[in-house]
Structure formats: C-alpha cells, structure tokens
C-alpha cells in the first residue's frame, strides 16, 4: 500500500518513525478553500489538523466537493508544489482528474471528514515512503524553455543568443506549455520571476511576441519605425542604417517597439561615452514609471485562486512595483451556473441547478423558487413566507460570519478567524431557538470586533470609493447607498425590517455594516419565530413569465424565468458580485500590497456567482 505521492525510498528504520510522525501531524491545504469547507458544514479547525496557507508547507491536500474545471490546472499545480510525501483526501469530490487517485475518499460530511482522516493517517503511516514512487505529471506542469532578454521581455526566442535590441545575452525562462500556464505555474506560491524583469509580463504578450518573432526578421529604421524592408540598407527618410528588428520591432508592440530604435549597435557614438556602452536611460525610457518617479522592477505575482484570505476561485494577479500595486487583473475561474438557453428544464431540477452555487445556496434556491412560483402564479401563506425569509437571514448571518473569519485570516487576527468560523458552523442549519441562543456569543464577538482599536487603525480609509461606482448590497450600503431588495419586501416589513446604512465607504465601514446586519438578522429571525429552507411548490403544467429579486448576503440578485407548460425554457440572472469585480482595479492601484489585498477582501466577492 503506497501513497499516490509517496517519496522515494524503502520504508524502514528511521523512515518508519518519520512516517508515523507525518500521520500524527497532518498539515493540510484545503481546496478550494476553508470558507467553502465551512459553508459545507466541515469543521476543519476542530479536527486536529494544521491548516496551512501555502502548499509548500502542506502534506495533505483536502479536496472539498468536485473540482470546477476552471480550477483543475490550478489544483494540479498546487499538488505538484506540495513536497513529497504528499497525500490527497477527497471529500465527495468524485473524479479529481488531473490529480492522481485520492488516497482516502469520504462523503462530504463531518463524519466523512473524521473517517477519511482516520483512514488517511493509516495510509500515510504505511505508505509515506516507497521504493518505486511514481512522478506526478499534468498538462499544466509541462514547461517549455524559452530565451528572453532581461531588458526586453517581449523578445522571446527558442534558442539562446543575443537580444536584437540591446545585444544582451538572452536568459532562459520556463513557461508553461499550455496557455496561461504561467499564471497557474504559481497558484499560491511566488511565481518564479526573473530578478531582472523590468516590464509587466503577461503570457498573452509573451506568446504573441513569440508568434511574431517566429516570422523572419525585417530591417527597420531606428528613427522611422514605419520604414520596413527585407534587406539591409539606408533609410529613405534620414539615411541612417536600417537595423535588424524582430517581427514586432516595426509595429510598436505596446510601446516596446520603439526600443528597436535605440539599438546600441546603430546609435551614433556620443562623445564621452565608450562605444558599446549599454545606456540604461535609453533602454528603460519607454517603460512605465511608478507614482513616485522611481522606476522599479515590475513583477506580476498571482494571488489566487487559492490564496489564504481571498475568495477561492478568484484569479487575482497583481503587477507589483516594489510592494506597490501597479496594476491588477481579476477574474473568476469558476463562473456561475449557466442557465438553460433553449433547452427545457424541469422546475425542481432548475432550482437544484441554481442552488448548486457555492457560498449562498439557500438564497439562490429561494430566488429560483420565488421566480418560478411567480411565473406559475402561486401564492403563499404568511408563515411560509416568514420561514423562507428567516432561512435567508440565517444564511446571511452565516455568510457574514464566514467573511469575518476569512478577514481574520487575511489580517492575521487569528482569534477572530477561529471564533467567527466556529460560530458560523453553529449557525448553519440551526433552528430558530438555537439561533436566538447563539445571539449572546455572536453579539459579544461583534462588539469586540467593532471596538478593537487596531482594527480601525488597519481598515480606515482602505478601499474607499465614491457614489459614482456601481455597487450592491453591503458594499453599497457601507457608503451610504440604499440598495437593498429587502426594503420593499412585505414579509420583512412585517418582521420590522429597516435598512441599515453606514457612511465612509471604506473597508472599516463594510466590516461595521456586516456586523450590524448580523445583529439585525438575528432579531428578524427571532421575530419570525419559524424557519424552513425553501421548498418548491408543485407547479402544474402552466406557462408564463415570472421574476423575483432577493437580497443575497452579497447584494440583490434578480431572476426572470420563462415557463412553457411546466418546464423552465428561459432564465435571466443578475448577481451582485459581477459588478463588484470591476471595482478591484481602482481599489488596488498604487496601494501598498497589504492594503490592496484587504480592499479586495472587504468586497466579499463570490467567484461562484460571477460571469467568469
């Protein structure tokens, strides 16, 4: 019996002791992330695990639920980055390709976790070392060696040589064989950046440059890039010698093209400068300046999709100038559940399909039910509506607590992380009575967080944006906005709902507001007195248009469905997080790295409900 990621070597002597130690001390990296695990009701903190923030320090990869195919490459890289011996524990994951077969599998429940861990410990103790341990390979890991110029990242060759622009020796660089591999290369880890990289490198431009340089070289005039000829000669305009330039040289490939004009071999020797001196001024003149006028190396570092403290599944890649963010590229790797286009779908199936969205399933289930019932013209009794509203409020509490926990991880406030996580697990699936009973501890937590002076110091003024930007839900209400789908909901009016607003529009206001809302939601549930997860009533064979709008924990989501004789044939869904994704660039630009990440975290994005 041997681990999928066993380490070479016979299991004997000291190795037995070490294997025992590994089975005792399981340091785990959670896929897609601890927040998802909690929302699925897994208590990782309480199961004698060490949850680490980087795969390099992990010995076990815990996979929670099936891996979205947008994350498969990333998962492969994460697994590859774990030092051997490494093990996989799959909880209700099903097929986990491209990863090797899991060493222990279990259903996605707390008991499953417990039994799975027990089995895993046995497997690790027995199979941590093996003489014929196999290597792990995946498409995302195949690297190609290419040669690039330290000064001109857009120059890429397949074989070593000199840079056609500055004559420097090209240096080898590894890039992924698959597209965008360069990002996944470094999921959660430092990307292996050249220390000598001066301009923001994006794989697109690299590959584009690669394709272009594959064409045979042209000769162009240093001063007049538009002059391009196939053989060397003099420029018709200024009579200078034409210089050899690669395919993009004459075409001004994003401002780098003009470098072709400063090829030191062609520039006229200036008195006082020795020939063949490499002028840094000319080499760097066209490269972007940073805010303080001091031009640093630009490094593009990935933060996600599995970065500790950031929402799992969010691909956030920051271009760093020193430790200041010079640019950002954020998108969702998972995307939201795609809706039926022409194909008809049974209502129940449609509801489950929408509820499959991570992090706030109940809200979306309720949304789907409401929309379909509206289309079918079904009305409810007050109790039923109250019970649904209460269920959504309960999910709001859990979601905000989960956000607090992640925020605690991000800001290093570990006490908050542990406490909020535990309370979230307690709230999920709790009945009215339990929630009312939990009001005490939750209230204490909230008051303590809201009062913590260092927290104010940390958050005030970070991620502030004005009223002109589009925002939904708590993010909007934290800047004094009034968007809340609950405010025109009769049921919640009966429960005495009144919209909560904070001014300030920065991370601090968002945290304060979410704390307020947790408080408020507990009150609402208490007054409702009843709580039931939404169940779809039986729609007969009817046709019609229906629309519904529900305030999810992240903002208002709107759904319109078309029923044609009992089947859902068309649907339109608007989710809040998609709008928030557009905020990231402004909130991070020219911020110190830590502040930028906190600003992103304070938005409480959910990649699972974005159009990726």
């Amino acid at each position: 019996m041997m681990l999928s990621g066993a380490r070479q070597g016979a299991l004997s002597g000291i190795r037995r002791v070490i294997a025992t130690a590994m089975s005792r001390d399981l340091s785990a990296f959670v896929l897609p992330g601890p927040a998802i695990a909690r929302s699925r009701g897994l208590d990782l903190a309480g199961s004698n695990l060490i949850i680490v923030g980087t795969p390099r320090h992990a010995g076990v990869l815990i996979i929670v639920g099936p891996i979205a195919e947008g994350l498969q490459d990333a998962a492969a890289v994460v697994y590859a980055q774990m030092p051997r011996p490494r093990a996989i524990l799959a909880l209700g994951a099903g097929d986990i390709a491209p990863l090797p077969v899991a060493d222990a599998s279990a259903p996605l429940t707390q008991d499953g976790l417990r039994s799975g861990l027990a089995e895993l410990r046995r497997v690790v103790e027995a199979g941590a070392f093996h003489v014929d341990a196999a290597d792990f390979t995946a498409a995302a890991l195949e690297v190609r060696i290419e040669y690039t110029c330290p000064m001109h990242p857009e120059v890429i060759r397949d074989e070593p040589g000199d840079c056609p622009k500055c004559g420097m020796t090209l240096v080898p660089r590894e890039t992924s064989a698959v597209g965008h591999g360069g990002h996944e290369q470094a999921q959660n880890m430092a990307e292996t950046v050249d220390h000598s990289e001066h301009a923001p490198k994006s794989d697109d431009s690299c590959h584009a440059g690669h394709d272009e340089t594959a064409k045979d070289a042209a000769y162009t005039c240093p001063m007049h890039p538009e002059v391009v000829s196939d053989e060397p000669g003099k420029c018709p305009k200024c009579g200078m010698n034409l210089v050899k330039a690669d395919g993009e040289g004459g075409q001004g490939h994003e401002g780098h093209g003009t470098h072709g004009g400063h090829d030191e071999h062609s520039s006229e020797p200036v008195d006082g400068i020795e020939p063949h001196f490499m002028s840094m001024v000319e080499l760097t003149k066209d490269q972007p300046r940073s805010s303080d006028g001091l031009q640093m190396e630009w490094i593009e570092a990935p933060f996600g999709p599995f970065f500790p403290g950031l929402p799992a599944g969010l691909h956030l890649s920051l271009t760093l100038d020193g430790d200041t963010v010079a640019g950002s590229d954020a998108r969702s790797l998972v995307g939201m559940a795609d809706l039926p286009g022409g194909t008809a779908m049974a209502p129940g199936q449609f509801v489950d399909h929408l509820a499959a969205m991570q992090l706030s399933p109940i809200a979306y289930r309720a949304l789907a039910c409401a929309a379909i019932e509206d289309a079918a013209g079904i009305a409810f009794g007050a109790d039923d509506r109250r019970a649904r509203a209460a269920a959504i409020e309960r999910e709001r509490i859990a979601s905000h607590l989960s956000w607090l926990a992640e925020f605690g991880v991000q800001t290093g406030f570990l006490w908050l992380a542990g406490r909020a996580g535990a309370l979230q697990l307690a709230v999920q699936g709790a009945g009215t009575a339990e929630i009312v009973a939990l009001a005490g501890p939750i209230g204490r937590l909230i008051r303590r967080v809201q009062a913590a002076p260092l927290m104010r110091m940390r958050l005030r003024g970070i991620g502030r944006f004005g009223k002109d930007r589009v925002a939904w839900g708590p993010v909007d209400r934290a800047r004094g906005g009034g968007s809340d789908a609950r405010s025109d909901d009769a049921t919640l009016k009966e429960l005495g709902f009144g919209i909560r607003v904070r001014n300030g529009g920065d991370a601090l206001a968002r945290m304060m507001l979410r704390c307020d809302e947790i408080d408020q939601s507990i009150g609402l549930i208490a007054t409702a007195g009843t709580l039931a997860a939404p169940m779809l009533a039986d729609v007969g064979v009817v046709s019609g248009e229906g629309a519904a709008s529900i305030e999810t924990p992240r903002g208002a989501a709107r759904l319109t469905v078309t029923l044609t004789d009992g089947k859902v044939t068309g649907a339109e869904l608007e989710t809040p997080s998609t709008a928030h994704l557009a905020l990231i660039d402004d909130l991070t630009r020219q911020r110190e790295l830590g502040d930028a990440l906190v600003a992103v975290g304070s938005l409480d994005l959910s990649p699972w409900e974005m159009r990726g």
Partner: protein, 299 residues
C-alpha cells in the same frame, strides 16, 4: 560545560516556544505536536525553487540560526552561567541581531520568488526602522549600569529593575524586539494573508525546519535580552537564579508569541511612521530622562 548547559536549556526553551506558537497560530495545545511536526519536516523532500540563487537559499536559514546563537551567547542565565561575558556584551547582542536582517534578505532573494523577495525587502524597512529602537533603549540601560557588559547590567538592577526605572525604554524595546523577530502583529515578512508565508513560502523540508528553529532562537534571544536589560535577569527571591531567568524568559517569550493572536496585523506604512516619528523621539527622551535621573538620584 557552561556552553553545554546553555545550549541544552536553549533547546528546551525552543521546544516549549514551539508548543506555545502552535497554540497561538493553530489553536491546539499539545506537548508532542512540535516533535512530530519537526520529524515530519525532516522527512519531507526539500524542494529547491527553479532558478534560485542556490548560495543564498542555503545560507539564509543557517545564518539566521547562527545569529540567534551568537545573540544567546552574551545572555547571562545565572551568575557565571554565560557563554562569554564580553566587555561590550550589549553591543555584541545588537551586532548579532543585525545579521537576522542579512539572513532574511538572503532567504528572501534566494528562492527567486515574488512573495519571498517582497518579504525580504519589507523586513529591511522594518528592521532599519526598529534597530534604532533596540539600540537607543540599550544605551539608556548601559548608562545606568555604567557598562556594556550584560552581567553588570543585571547586577546594576539589584535595587530597582529597569522596567520601573525606565518604563519608556522597556515598552520601546519590547515592541522593537517583536518587530525584529517578526512576531504578529508585526509579522510583515511572513504575513500569511498577504504573502502566503513570505520568506518561508519557498522553503520546505529540512531547510524549513532550520529556518523555524532559527526563528525560535531569535525569539528566545530577544526575550532573554528583555529580561536581562529590564527585568533584572536572574535576580529574584526564594528561587535559585537560573530558575528565575528561565521563568522570566519563558513568560516574556510566551507573551510575545501569544499577543499577536488577539490583534490584526498592523499596516506597514503606519508601522514604519510610528517608529520614525514617535519611537525615536521617545527613545531620545528616554535617554535624556535616564541621564538626568542618574545625575540627580544615584541609585
């Protein structure tokens, strides 16, 4: 003999600290946990990052450990129980701790990774801002003891511990010490939520074990320095001197490790500004006050 005793107690202290840190970071308290963790680390393969600066990558953790050991060498645990009682002990402590910076820059530059590199340079700024707050309070301490020898500094506190004699210096020194050992909430170089481990991010296996051991040594050395300079070293009633030193050092170290659990990480900009604007002026004021007191009331 002395060396053996000191190193043994150092190892014991480091292990206890590891237990405490495990509780502070991961929230479980187990006496055997760190032992298993250390064994597991030694068993894992030690990955060498692609295109890394091999030399720095290897030297960084070792240099960290060596710096810690050198710093420990001038900390008296009891009368006579000190590896070397230098005439310039207090200064030597600074010199040794200064190489923590070099070690972290090496460890940050070595693996050729963005997180590690940023972490290393972050620590440079942090260190330069806070080395001042290590040196200047020590100056005031030495002024009272009229010597740089750590033993004499301890004996000079026979009547009154420096924590009462110069409280400003004590506060500054403790804060600066926590910054120097990058303990939360001042853990900018390995902030999990910002740099996914920072300098530690690319280290695995045995190298990571050395790095963590080195950090434990640094923390112990700084706790020992705090005790020596401000809490009267081995001085205390009833118990034997070595017991007093052990208790004080472990308490200080545990406090340094535990406090970070209950507060968020501080913002880098504000943190540096605090040192340059407030800290250094306070340290100067501290030196002035201590000088005046030393002139007026000989104690």
């Amino acid at each position: 003999m002395t060396v053996a005793i000191v190193l043994l107690s150092l190892a014991l202290g480091a292990y206890l600290l590891a237990v405490i840190e495990r509780w502070a970071v991961h929230g479980h308290l187990s006496l055997t946990g760190p032992a298993w963790a250390a064994l597991a680390l030694l068993g894992r393969e030690s990955v060498l990052a692609r295109k890394s600066d091999r030399l720095f990558f290897e030297i960084g953790p070792v240099l960290l450990l060596v710096a810690g050991l050198l710093a420990v060498a001038v900390i008296p645990l009891a009368p006579g129980l000190i590896i070397s009682d230098l005439a310039t002990g207090a200064l030597f402590l600074n010199a040794a701790l200064a190489y923590v910076l070099v070690a972290l820059i090496m460890a940050g530059w070595g693996p050729n990774g963005a997180y590690a590199m940023i972490a290393g340079w972050r620590f440079l700024g942090q260190f330069i801002a806070y080395a001042m707050l290590i040196v200047m309070p020590i100056t005031a301490v030495a002024m009272r003891a009229e010597s740089l020898s750590t033993v004499q500094i301890v004996t000079s506190q026979a009547q009154l511990w420096n924590v009462i004699y110069q409280p400003i210096g004590f506060v500054l020194f403790v804060v600066a010490a926590m910054g120097l050992a990058w303990l939360p909430p001042l853990d900018l170089p390995d902030a999990t939520g910002e740099l996914a481990g920072g300098v530690e991010a690319d280290y695995t296996g045995a190298r990571l074990a050395v790095l963590r051991l080195g950090r434990m040594t640094i923390i112990l050395a700084l706790a020992g320095a705090t005790v020596t300079f401000y809490l009267g070293g081995w001085l205390g009633p009833w118990l034997p001197p070595w017991a007093w030193s052990a208790i004080k050092i472990m308490l200080v170290a545990a406090a340094m490790l535990g406090v970070g659990r209950y507060m968020p990480r501080i913002r880098e900009a504000r943190y540096l500004a605090l040192s340059w604007k407030l800290g250094i002026s306070l340290a100067l004021a501290n030196i002035f006050i201590v000088g005046v007191i030393a002139l007026v009331v000989p104690l």
